[in-house]
């Protein structure tokens, strides 16, 4: 049975276990003079039975499902004659997909070697066996668990404590998912990155000024190694992010100031949600807007004044990214400005300062650390933004500071390297993970600093 179908089955068994345990607890309570002579309410005995039934079964099921594929694949490949054994990871994945396709009936068996057909048959058989065995095992565990809990419906046992302790552990596990995710991210980039540095020296990666991860069709082709210097990617990323911040920081900040200081209540209640709408627009929409409207517009405009502009200029991507970040900056600044105590504001106004003087001389300096934190967060957003640059910035890794030129970014390269046909193990694919690691470290550092700055600022006025 498929994993997806087993889940409802476990659920059904758990519900039955719940019902049986509930009835039994009432039966047990009867001669004792009612349920108040039990250590816990019938609900808890029943819930415990359901938990005993479901949790072990789920653990076994997920472990099985996680490793089933790999184990079967190894068994199948192991059964192949030695001359067919794949030499590289690329060949292995090709062979595996061939076997899979034959087994699924998508590929005509006549077109592949007989051994592959044999392997495909074996794959089918193993899959069927594994599926049967899994179903039996999981159902058995569920029933045994339920039976055990059922037998433990005894008046002197405090089922409530059991259930609550289990729930607490489940809650803890859910909170720990965040840690697991971080660990997963770190592991998913670190291994491939280390392998990448086995192929390309780390110094070349960090300090090289040329990036061209060419697709080499044959190993002996000239320049098949490609060039993996990250500098042009970083300058491209920084150029676009800088343009974005140049747009977003003044606009967002001044909007926040106007809204908190001058706008009437009704104007605020209209403008604020509209600004937030800018943040809710999906990035792919901004990418579309940048690539099909802003970029051609900028190119035409530049031509009109006699400048040469690429049709995928950094300026277009940066401008649109800036628009996207405006609400981010404005809502963070708004928070920070409102956190400045009212007494400071009153103090300045009472001295006869105008609103703008109060803003510029008192509130702004007081809010500066918080605003800086917000800008750092915005910068990390800009650096990690993907869709706008994928659609509107180019692929050419130019080392330039001219905003009318086309540049590429770290995120664009990750997407380009990892979509379409991939060869596992090639320096090209691994490079994407190395870039991912750089991106992760950079944004993480920015976030940590920003959060620290903002927290410190908050504490100052709490």
């Amino acid at each position: 049975m498929q994993t997806a179908n087993l889940l409802p089955l476990i659920l059904v068994i758990a519900v039955i276990a719940y019902g049986l345990a509930y009835m039994r607890s009432r039966t047990v309570a009867g001669p004792l003079g009612g349920i108040r002579n039990l250590k816990a309410l019938p609900f808890y005995y029943a819930a415990r039975a359901a938990l005993w039934c479901a949790i072990p079964a789920l653990i076994v099921l997920s472990a099985w499902a996680a490793f089933e594929g790999k184990v079967i694949q190894n068994l199948v490949v192991g059964s192949l004659p030695s001359e067919l054994l794949p030499q590289s990871a690329g060949e292995a994945s090709l062979l595996m997909s061939q076997i899979n396709n034959v087994a699924a009936g998508k590929l005509n068996p006549n077109f592949v070697p007989a051994d592959v057909v044999g392997a495909a048959d074996k794959l089918g058989a193993l899959n069927a066996q594994s599926s049967q065995f899994k179903t039996v095992l999981v159902v058995l565990i569920a029933v045994l668990g339920a039976a055990f809990a059922w037998s433990r419906v005894q008046p002197q046992i405090n089922a409530r404590e059991n259930v609550e302790r289990t729930l607490r552990w489940i809650f803890f596990a859910c909170a720990a998912v965040a840690v697991l995710t971080t660990v997963g991210i770190v592991f998913s980039v670190i291994f491939e990155t280390v392998r990448f540095f086995g192929k390309v020296p780390i110094t070349e990666f960090l300090f090289g000024t040329s990036w061209s991860p060419q697709t080499a069709l044959r190993a002996d082709q000239v320049g098949s190694d490609g060039a993996f210097g990250i500098i042009p990617l970083f300058t491209g990323t920084l150029l676009i992010s800088a343009i974005a911040l140049l747009v977003a920081v003044p606009t967002g900040l001044l909007s926040a100031v106007y809204l908190s200081e001058y706008a009437s209540k009704s104007a605020r209640s209209v403008i604020k949600p509209l600004l937030e709408m800018l943040a809710g627009v999906p990035t792919v929409v901004y990418g579309f807007f940048a690539a099909l409207t802003v970029a051609p517009f900028i190119r035409d405009l530049a031509e009109m004044v006699g400048l040469e502009a690429s049709s995928q200029s950094a300026l277009a991507a940066g401008l649109v990214m800036g628009i996207m970040i405006i609400p981010f900056v404005s809502s963070l600044s708004d928070d920070v400005i409102n956190a400045v105590p009212r007494t400071l504001r009153d103090g300045s106004l009472a001295l006869g300062a105008t609103q703008s003087e109060t803003m510029k001389n008192v509130i702004f300096p007081a809010a500066l650390p918080g605003i800086m934190g917000g800008i750092l967060l915005a910068a990390s957003r800009a650096i990690g933004e993907t869709m706008i640059v994928v659609m509107a910035a180019g692929l050419a890794a130019n080392l330039t500071a001219n905003p009318l030129d086309s540049v590429t970014t770290v995120t664009v390269q990750i997407v380009t390297l990892l979509t379409g046909d991939q060869e596992f193990d090639s320096a090209k694919t691994l490079a994407a993970f190395a870039l991912g690691m750089m991106l992760f470290i950079l944004t993480l550092a920015l976030n940590m600093i920003a959060l620290k700055v903002v927290r410190k600022y908050r504490e100052q006025y709490d």
Binding site: D346, G347, L349, A350, L351, G352, N361, V362
Partner: protein, 295 residues
């Protein structure tokens, strides 16, 4: 705002209950009548001439038809139980209520015969003439020097650095703070003690050379020693400024003020020389308050 209303209702009953048994003694003054203040609310050639002032928060009246004169270079104390409107009234005098959207002010409020609430009136200029010191010390998170220099700078009162230095030094001297801080003018003001901070705020207000200084419970956040210093300072300043001080402490009012005004539930009940208010008040409510029957 609702809470104000509901709080006001039973309190009004209380005042009547308090008032009734003493009707025999002071029949003409026992009940608050709107707009009628006992004592001496008026003066010749006043600094502030306030007539029929009413303040509303939305629909709820906070100040009910108050008329009062504040004389030149006098120290007048506003006293009264919590929520009686004394702070609200104080904030009308330099229009600090403007920033509260729902607050409306009616009546005639004149400073040197000019209407404070004239729509054409300049708030900035008004506040430069009528300074304010707040309940909680609120120094800017800048250096001590910059705090005091802030007002003169924005108003362009000093042409040269040396002028500014003089203003800062004079203000700090007047605030009795100079000797304590002259060696650390560049230190940040938030590192000072509460009492020092409040005196710095006074120095900051003085630096603009206002004609009037409004003080909203300036000592409520301070310890007794710091309070004593601030009170000393008020006494010294009374020679050159008109000072309006709101206070919770009757002793403080008695110590620093020339006249005292007693507020009750938005009404101005009595204004008299401070000595008279604290020895032989005209109104029964004032007497009840100063003898501690409520507050």
């Amino acid at each position: 705002m609702n809470s104000m209303n509901t709080a006001a209702m039973p309190a009004q009953n209380v005042s009547e209950k308090v008032a009734k048994p003493v009707i025999d003694e002071k029949p003409e003054t026992a009940v608050i009548t709107e707009g009628s203040t006992v004592g001496q609310p008026f003066a010749d050639d006043p600094k502030f001439k306030l007539r029929n002032v009413e303040v509303f928060y939305g629909e709820n009246p906070a100040i009910k038809n108050i008329s009062l004169d504040i004389g030149r270079n006098e120290v007048i104390a506003f006293i009264g139980p919590s929520g009686c409107g004394k702070s609200t009234f104080l904030r009308c005098l330099n229009r600090m209520n403007d920033s509260i959207d729902i607050c409306r002010v009616k009546g005639s409020l004149m400073l040197d015969d000019q209407d404070i609430y004239d729509p054409k009136r300049d708030v900035v200029e008004l506040r430069a003439r009528v300074g304010m010191v707040f309940q909680k010390p609120n120094p800017f998170p800048k250096s001590i020097y910059d705090n005091v220099a802030y007002g003169p700078r924005i108003h362009g009162l000093a042409n040269r650095k040396s002028d500014l230095d003089d203003i800062v030094e004079n203000s700090l001297r007047k605030a009795g703070l100079w000797d304590e801080v002259k060696d650390r003018l560049d230190a940040t003001a938030t590192g000072m003690s509460g009492g020092q901070q409040q005196r710095l705020c006074i120095a900051r207000a003085i630096a603009v050379s206002p004609e009037v200084i409004l003080m909203d419970e300036p000592c409520s956040a301070l310890d007794p020693i710091a309070t004593a210093k601030v009170e000393e300072l008020i006494a010294e300043m009374s020679e050159s400024y008109t000072i309006v001080i709101v206070t919770h402490s009757m002793q403080q009012a008695a110590r620093v003020s020339d006249r005292t005004a007693y507020f009750h539930l938005g009404h101005l009940v009595e204004v008299n020389d401070t000595d008279k208010v604290f020895t032989a008040p005209d109104h029964q409510l004032t007497e009840s308050y100063i003898t501690g029957r409520f507050g």
